[in-house]
């Protein structure tokens, strides 16, 4: 397996001759370095996403130690936006205009990615692999061609749940908790699309604001509606609160939770607060390997992940899947840089990012990163997963999200 790992790495990004000097008119690219920029919550209440950034940095460090991309080291400068879109704009401008980064990579958050999209497209700076699966990012690519997300379509994920309900529980009475932004509303609209003629079986919906302290009242409302199927379209903190609240109410619906909230720690916290049976049997979707899943621990991507974590982030929590997501994003970025050529330009990087057909070891088997000038959802498939026996079990074959 170790040999396979080495081969995988060698084939994917290394063993290439050093590049010549970068083009003088390409910001962020020198003969020895490629400067990328990014923003995300390194502090504040949403700093749970920090591992997405540190995971990417760790993978770039790994690539650099293996020769970089065409001999250039990747430098990834990350600014702390505290999950405030206004700061995202401020720091992104700083990265582009003062630091003169080659591209913006791995921006955390849908609202945040949208907030900088107009500016970056005006400046023709690639905004690559933003942490969002919002419809507006992918669907408006003709208007904003320099912006590409990375997460599977939120709406497509919602549609999968809708179709699953129709197939397994056609008489379901559905209650939906969703975040009151594009992330939540995309999931809800996708659910309705997937339910098709059964969409009328949504008996209640309740939204929350990310600033809400609890979602208890929303869960009570959904229970009171008579729903027997509970859709949790929420970020991890609110998803935990929703599971716990339902359990404490004695409500035992069929539960679905969005893929954003299936880090192993989510159920761990749910169980600490509501007992070991809370959340068991819940359904979600997954496209990433889970390093804690005993059935995946020998996968090449998990072995590579553990290797990178051990060397570059030895004191951080390797069980946090957000690290692995960050590495998956960084792997995709390295792929794009490699295909952008020995003397990359922003245009050649965009060309590469919109013509991807790449295996990525951090994705579950059978999934690839594919893009085209008309497909701005790099991850177009995902798996249904169910929480049983202490981890999320992969079910069946890949399902289309876009």
């Amino acid at each position: 397996m170790r040999r396979a790992l080495v081969a995988l790495v060698a084939a994917s990004l290394l063993a290439v001759p050093a590049a010549g000097a970068g083009r003088a008119d390409t910001p962020g690219v020198t003969a020895t370095q490629i400067l990328l920029g990014g923003t995300g919550p390194l502090s504040g209440p949403e700093s749970q996403y920090e591992p997405v950034l540190t995971g990417a940095q760790a993978y770039f460090a790994y690539v650099n130690d293996h020769g970089g991309v065409f001999g250039r080291k990747i430098v990834y400068k990350v600014e702390d936006d505290s999950y405030d879109p206004a700061k995202t704009v401020q720091f992104t401008r700083q990265l582009v205009e003062q630091d003169k980064v080659f591209a913006i990579f791995n921006t955390i958050g849908t609202e945040h990615s949208l907030a900088i999209r107009g500016y970056l497209n005006q400046m023709q700076v690639p905004e690559l692999f933003a942490g969002t699966g919002a419809t507006s990012i992918a669907a408006q690519h003709t208007q904003f061609p320099w912006t590409i997300g990375l997460l599977p379509s939120f709406a497509g994920e919602g549609a999968i749940y809708g179709r699953q309900i129709v197939a397994t529980k056609p008489g379901a009475k559905i209650g939906v908790l969703y975040e009151n932004d594009e992330y939540g509303t995309d999931l809800l609209s996708g659910l309705k699309r997937g339910l098709g003629s059964h969409a009328g079986q949504i008996v209640s919906t309740a939204s929350y604001e990310p600033t809400d302290v609890t979602v208890d009242s929303q869960v009570q409302q959904l229970q009171a509606s008579g729903a027997d199927t509970f859709m949790i379209f929420a970020l991890p903190t609110q998803a935990i609160q929703a599971f716990v609240s339902a359990a404490k109410l004695g409500w035992k619906p069929t539960e679905y939770v969005t893929s954003i909230s299936i880090d192993p720690a989510v159920m761990q916290i749910v169980h600490v607060n509501a007992g070991p049976q809370a959340g068991v049997g819940a359904t979600s979707t997954a496209f990433l390997h889970d390093p804690t899943n005993p059935t995946q621990q020998k996968a090449a991507g998990v072995l590579l992940y553990r290797q990178v974590m051990k060397k570059y982030l030895p004191n951080e929590d390797w069980k946090a899947v957000a690290h692995l997501y960050g590495m998956m994003a960084a792997y995709a970025m390295v792929d794009a840089l490699k295909h952008a050529g020995r003397n990359p330009t922003r245009q050649s990087l965009l060309q590469a990012a919109t013509h991807m057909n790449e295996v990525n070891p951090f994705l579950l088997p059978g999934l690839k990163l594919t893009t085209s000038p008309s497909n701005y959802y790099p991850i177009g498939n995902t798996y249904l997963v169910r929480y049983l026996h202490g981890y999320w079990n992969v079910l069946g074959k890949p399902l289309k999200t876009s």
């Binding site: 209440p45 609160q241 761990q268 957000a322």
Partner: protein, 345 residues
């Protein structure tokens, strides 16, 4: 004695006359238990949710212990598991991570204890990728503090009950409830008998202020004694009679369960029965013998943490050191095995 602690104790002494044991102080309590297994030492701290927010915990390692503080920076020396109440999210949070040595030179300006320490250990508490790093400062004691122990370990905690947005407030309004950390190959346990007390001072905040309430400082202590389990087996007409004594710190341990193992070799042993110790720590167990091959016996005993406040806090520290008194004493958990005994046919 290091400057901050000395300053604290001076302040405590000055304010001692004002203590008058307010009712609020009476509610504050905590427990600490210490156990050793091989080269590992585990320290378990529990703070009830109703206790005022804790600003600092100073643990004194008893005289007789020696500590190896020579590890290079960034060496993983153990692990920590903790539980915190995240007041901002209304959830109990399980936290876990490694204990890693840090370069003391990087901590000379830390607000908690701005001086050069013999060692600094970072307790990395993580949940879902979010990490809280709590430095723990380790030093040999000096001056008056030598009366409390050979080494002191100091940790400061941010307040959770100040308004959201207050600088220095704990993450998610996290209130530490329970922490258990294990360090390996650090402490050498003294072999002398008797129960050794790990005096531990808890200094709370004045609720809602983020200001340390020095006169509210109270003590909890961990009591540690080396366990011993003896075994003697005699043969009597097709049967055996096993007996022995169980002690902790040289003192007999009553009402404890002893498990007797037997088998055909010293390494293939299975449970043969159990017995309970009497007031003198003595136990006995008899059984039948079959066959004409040697039989091997071993006894084991496991005890959990036990409250010993009544006896353990009988002699509290002076009010100048712990104005809030000694609120708990806890005997540590351990497992002990007897030597293997061989009974010839």
């Amino acid at each position: 004695m290091r400057a901050p602690l000395r300053a604290a104790l001076v302040a405590v002494a000055a304010a001692a006359s004002l203590v008058a044991a307010s009712s609020a102080l009476a509610a504050n309590t905590a427990t600490i238990a210490v156990s050793s297994s091989g080269a590992a030492t585990t320290i378990h701290i529990f703070v009830p949710q109703t206790t005022d927010p804790i600003a600092a915990i100073t643990i004194y390692v008893p005289a007789g212990y020696t500590a190896n503080l020579s590890q290079a920076a960034n060496t993983s020396i153990g692990s920590v598991n903790a539980t915190a109440n995240g007041h901002d999210v209304g959830l109990t949070l399980p936290l876990t991570g490694p204990v890693v040595t840090d370069n003391p030179a990087l901590h000379t300006a830390d607000a908690c204890s701005p001086t050069t320490h013999a060692a600094v250990w970072n307790l990395n508490l993580s949940v879902a990728g979010q990490s809280i790093v709590l430095p723990l400062y380790v030093d040999p004691t000096a001056g008056a503090a030598t009366e409390l122990g050979a080494y002191q370990m100091l940790i400061c905690l941010p307040p959770w009950d100040v308004p959201v947005g207050t600088p220095g407030r704990s993450f998610d309004g996290a209130q530490l409830l329970d922490a258990q950390f294990t360090v390996n190959n650090i402490f050498t346990v003294p072999t002398s008998g008797g129960l050794l007390a790990w005096h531990t001072l808890f200094t709370p905040y004045t609720p809602g202020t983020g200001t340390a309430n020095l006169v509210g400082t109270f003590e909890a202590r961990a009591l540690v004694g080396s366990p011993s389990l003896s075994l003697k087996v005699a043969k009597k007409k097709g049967s055996y009679a096993a007996s022995g004594k169980l002690s902790e710190g040289g003192l007999p341990l009553a009402s404890s369960s002893v498990v007797l193992l037997r088998g055909s070799s010293a390494t293939k042993l299975a449970k043969a029965g159990s017995a309970t110790t009497d007031a003198s720590g003595a136990w006995s167990k008899a059984g039948k013998l079959t066959g004409n091959k040697p039989v091997y016996f071993k006894a084991t005993a496991t005890v959990a943490e036990r409250d010993a406040t009544a006896q353990g806090c009988a002699t509290p520290l002076p009010a100048t050191v712990a104005p809030g008194g000694c609120t708990s004493a806890t005997l540590g958990a351990w497992t002990v095995s007897s030597p293997v005994a061989k009974l010839k046919p």
